[in-house]
Structure formats: C-alpha cells, structure tokens
Amino acid sequence: MAQPIGVQWMQGQRTLDIDQVFHEINAERRLAGLPQVELSVMRVRVNIRLSIAGVERLPSSGRVEVDDDQLAAIARAISELFNTAYTVERLANFERMLGDAETPADQLAAAADAAPGQAPAGPASSVSAPRPVAPVTDAVGDEPRDRLYMVDFFTAINQVRRRNRQLPIEPAVVIVRVSVRFAIVRRRRLNFDQAWIEVSPMDVAALETILAEQFDVHLEQGMARLIDQGRARARQEPRKLSWVDRIFRRRNFNFHVNDMVMAITRQRAQLGYHPKSPREIQECCEKLLADMNVKFRDGRVRLTEAQMDQLAEFLREEYGLYFEDLDSFIGVGALGR
C-alpha cells in the first residue's frame, strides 16, 4: 500500500519524515503567496510548541517515530504557526496523490511555478544547501514591517526573568546570543546598536523563538506588545523636522540638566544596568557641556541642534542608552524652543 508522503506506519507506530513535511508546508505557503519559512525556524518554533504541550521535541532532521497524540500535537502546532491546515487527516489525504511519480511537494511546487507573480525559488532549492547570511540589517521584500525599539526589547527580557525569579542576563550576552541566532535563523544580520530595528512578522516570530530558546523568556502578548508600546510612544513624540527645517529653522533647546539626569537614570534602570549615582552622571554631563562651551544658568542649559546631536552621541556611548532624538528622550515637557 502506498504511504502518505511524510508519514509511514511501521508495526503500529508512525514514522514522520519531518523534513518532508516542512517542504510540503513551504510548497503550500508558496502557492498561497506567503513567504517561505526556513526549515530551522519551523523546527525551533514547532519544538517550542511541543515543549509547552509536554510532547517530545523533534529531531533536527530526518524521521521520528510518533504516536497518535504526538502526531496530533505536531499537526496542531504546524497549523497554528504556519497558517496551514496540516492535520493528521490532511497527511493521510496525500496518500491518494502518491500514485504519480511526483511527490505532493513537487506537484504543489509545480503549481506554484505555473502561477503568475509568485516567488521563483522552490522549497528544495531554498533548503538543500546552507544559505549565506545577507549583510543587511532591516527586513526586506514586501513583508509588512514594524519598528522594534531596542530599549523595549532589552528591558522586557530581564523584566520577565526577574518576575520568574531567574537571574538577569547581562546585555552583552543578550546581544551576542540574539545576534548570532538571528543571523542563523533568518540568514540576515541585525544591528543592535540602533535605537530601533525594522522587523517583519517573520523576524518577530524568530525573535520570540530565540527569547524562549536562549533565555527562557516568554513575553505576555508576544513581541507585538513591545511593538505597540514603541508605536504609542512614537506617536506622543514631537514630529521630527525635515533636513530643510534643521538647516534653515535654527532651533535652540533649553532644558534643565536634572531632567536629563533623570531620563538617563530611568532608562538605565529599565535596562537593568547597575545604578550610577545621579551626582556622578550630573558631573560627567556637566563636564562634557563645559567642554562644549555651554553655559549654565540655575542648572538650565541652552543647546543648538548640533550640540544636541553631540550630546546625544555621548550619552549613547557613555551610558549604553537607546534613543532616537535626545529632545524626545529627555521629554517634551522639559524643553523650550
């Protein structure tokens, strides 16, 4: 009897060829005009779901023996994660298609090739050899993109770990591990030195998986909450001036050094950095401002646009802070223009 593709029944047990199943999913997604998913991403994400469900995780490749419950859990995870109706019954249905020499994956891929306007690369060619890591930092293609603010990302990790009474992990370790895993899983680099990164839904899924896998961190409401949080904050911030405005509308910024020190202290605490005394921060900032020939009056300073940029760069470097515009970072209320 012909066996359904990806599944074999052996002496009462079923042998699931997980790679074959993943190829099928990509073929189906391709036909539906959905982006392809790396096999490693699928495997890690399915494994997370299986772990949560208390089911033995999948091997890294090849065949795995499963019972009915495990197969159902795998099918459920696949359906939920990859937008396919890939149930046990669906697997069995492939049996009918095996009369032909072509596998269902071949048939689906051929159908996708015939469909106009679809991506040209087939699943076999996209996964047969290690794909190199591209030297770009932001999401590419037509995928929708969102901004993920680094301060929210780093803050969330140790907040969750502290809440779960786990030891916090120093940002250096977080950055390296997330960078390496992201490069491997998404075959693309991220620049964590920026205030924010542009991420696609697939990037978000990969980052969520990485957080769970590397740091045992599961975000309530997922990464979407962090993105929403950043978006809401951005809406509250004053509109950024165009380069024309920056050149011709010479702005001055007038603020109290205490407000700046408070903002620095607040974000450092959010990021889990070891506390520096406000006095220490204030002295350091005042020294820099003095070097910039900025005059103080009752703790207030008046800075030009260029001086603000210089000060911002210093604060990012000196205190490991993540922000886009210094005026927004310090807070609108503290500014007079």
Partner: protein, 401 residues
Amino acid sequence: MGNEIEADKGLARLGGLSHVFHCNHYNAHLQMAVQLGEGIEEDFVPDQLLKDAARAIAEHLRNECGYSEGQLLEEYTRCGFGILKRIDDDHYEAVRSHYGEMTYHHGRPQPSCFFDAGFLSGMTGRDVVEVQCRHDDGSTDLFELREPVEPLPSPFRHPDPMADPPARFDFPECRVAESGIDESAVIAAVSGMDLFGKPEREGGTGLVEAFGVGLTFHYADYYNYISYEVYRRMVAIGVPADMAREAFVQAGHVCAFNTLGGIMESDAWDQVVKPMCRDVSDWVHGIVAVINALGWGVWRVERIEPGKELAIRVYNSYEGVGFRRLYPADDRERQISFLAMGAVRGIAHLLWKIDIRERPGLNEALYMKTFNDPKGYWSVEQTHAIGAGDPYDRIVTRAPG
C-alpha cells in the same frame, strides 16, 4: 594506560591527552555558545556534536590507550565529572554530576548532560540517550544505552605543534624586566593542591569544589572540537566573525571572573601569592603563574601598563595546539584562541574595573553590576595564533577610550 599526570611544556597530559582545569561557569557558557549553532546547516546538530566530541575521546581512550570501562569511570570521577553507576544492562545513573548539578543554562529547561551521554557512548560502544536530567526536573541524570554504534573516525588527525617556551621576560619584545612573584613556587603550590574528584569509597562525590566554583580537569580536545566546529560553520555561512567569536570569548570572560577571581580571593592566594605582590603588576604576574599550573599552556607577560594595556603571550596554548590537531594551520584568521582572549580581558577587568585586591566578594550580582554595560569593556585582540602557524598566541587588551 597512563594514570599519572605529566607536565608537557605547559600542557597537562593524562592518558596522553591534554587536560585543562575549567569551572562550571565556563562549561555552562561554552555549551550554550555551541548550542547557538542550531540551524546553521540542515544536518548539523550542536547537541549531537557535544555528544560526539565526548564519545570520540572515550573511544580513543578505550581503543587506542586500552582503557577498560572501569578505568574510564575512574577517570570520569577523577576529572570531577561526578560518579556514574550502572543500574542494569541498559542504564547508567549519574549519582553525582558536574554537568547535571553545577552547570546551568539560560534557556528553557531540557536534558543537557551531552558530555556524559557521549562519554558513556564511547565507553560502551552503544548509542546513549539521556532519558532523565536534573536540568529537566529529574532527581538524577539517567542514561539509556541503545543500539551498538561503530567508532567515530577520529577528528584529531594532526600532530601537536609543541614549542619550547622562553623563560620569563626572556624574549626580545618583552617590556617587563622582573617581578616579585616566584613563579616556580606558585606553580609548585598549585600543583600540590588536590583538585581532583574522589570516588565514593574514599568518601568523595566525584565533584571538585574549590575557589568558589565547581572545577573539572576537562579534555582539551573536547573544548576545541566543539568550539571550532561550530565557530567555523557559523563564519562559513556569513555570521560575522566578531559576533560569533564574542559568544565564545564571553565564556572565557565568565571563567576569568569566577575562577581566576575566585583564586585571587582565596586563602591559598593570601598565603602563597599575595605576600610576594608589591604592586598591581605583581597581581598580574601572580595569576599568570597560577594559570601556568592549569594546563592552559605557558603564559608569558609581555607588557603591562596598569589601567591601560596588558599583552600576554601563550606558548603551547591548549587552544592553538588543539586547533592544529584538528585542522591545518590557517593564516586567514588569528583571533581564534577564545578562552585566552576572554581570560586576558577578564584579568584586566578583575584588576582595573573591579579591583579584586579589595576582595569585593565575587558573585552573580557583582558580575551583573560590573559587566552589564558592554560599552565599558576593555577591547581584546589576538595578534598571533598557533592555529595560524605562528609560534605562539599573543593577546592584547586595552582600556576603553
């Protein structure tokens, strides 16, 4: 079979294989760094690599050196990995376990005693799966022996490129003339310490607790094989080398903080080394002398500018020699002695970022407090590498700014 530890130009050999002292923190972080490689290639499985590396070593000892199962179990205990007991024909239990009890990982709980499973596999000639683990709420680590397996082809194909190290301060570029530290006395004192696991019949646990850490006298080949196989694959697919490297260097940095820092806060240090220290430079010479008893190679201080720069040469570094046992010399990259890079940076941080001389009390909280902002890190660079064909490794670390 050789049961005695032999000193070999900076390396420590047991059964002919190079061994190095390393702590539970290093073992945990290195394992996590290796596991970062999941998904690099479709058929590459880091967890399997961790097992295979241990298996290859146990197979070598069994097949090439004539170790019996009993002798392998004794060595396992002596090296501080714990105590393994046979439960029945198909099961071993780790009654005590370095990897099960003393290491940790930051990710979700899962069975993580890959070294032990691989060692048992090499010892028994059967595939071994850890079916219960302390990391995953098990009361002990339990290993199931499955179908027989053929021995792996040895990955250690090339001879050790051993060199004759110069005496202290006796090489042309050396900028240090003398030190208050009597290195021979320090090495003799450390070598005389009992840093090995004891079996149950001697009232031991098979674990080694010293200097505030859990120590192992680990197989250098194991560390090198798992590190370089993953690192080279990462770089091959385009993961930036500095990013991939940093994951491994961080393991060395954690090791320096905990083990080297623990040594500098110990009573033994106070009794043996501290009385010889006249200034902060002597603290560097003191810890370098201790390192020269750990099997890490022969470390030579080339230059110290307190608070600014530290340059160290390592002759016969276990990483450089180990790299060359695995691969031909490769001069395309010199920054590959990850442990040494992390350790040299760590020594600078211990003295000029923490000031270990004040005995701040090393713990996780202090580590977080001190190192949670990477922007204040000292830079570290490896300029010479045995792996690249140079006669020694040379590591330079500099203060930020």
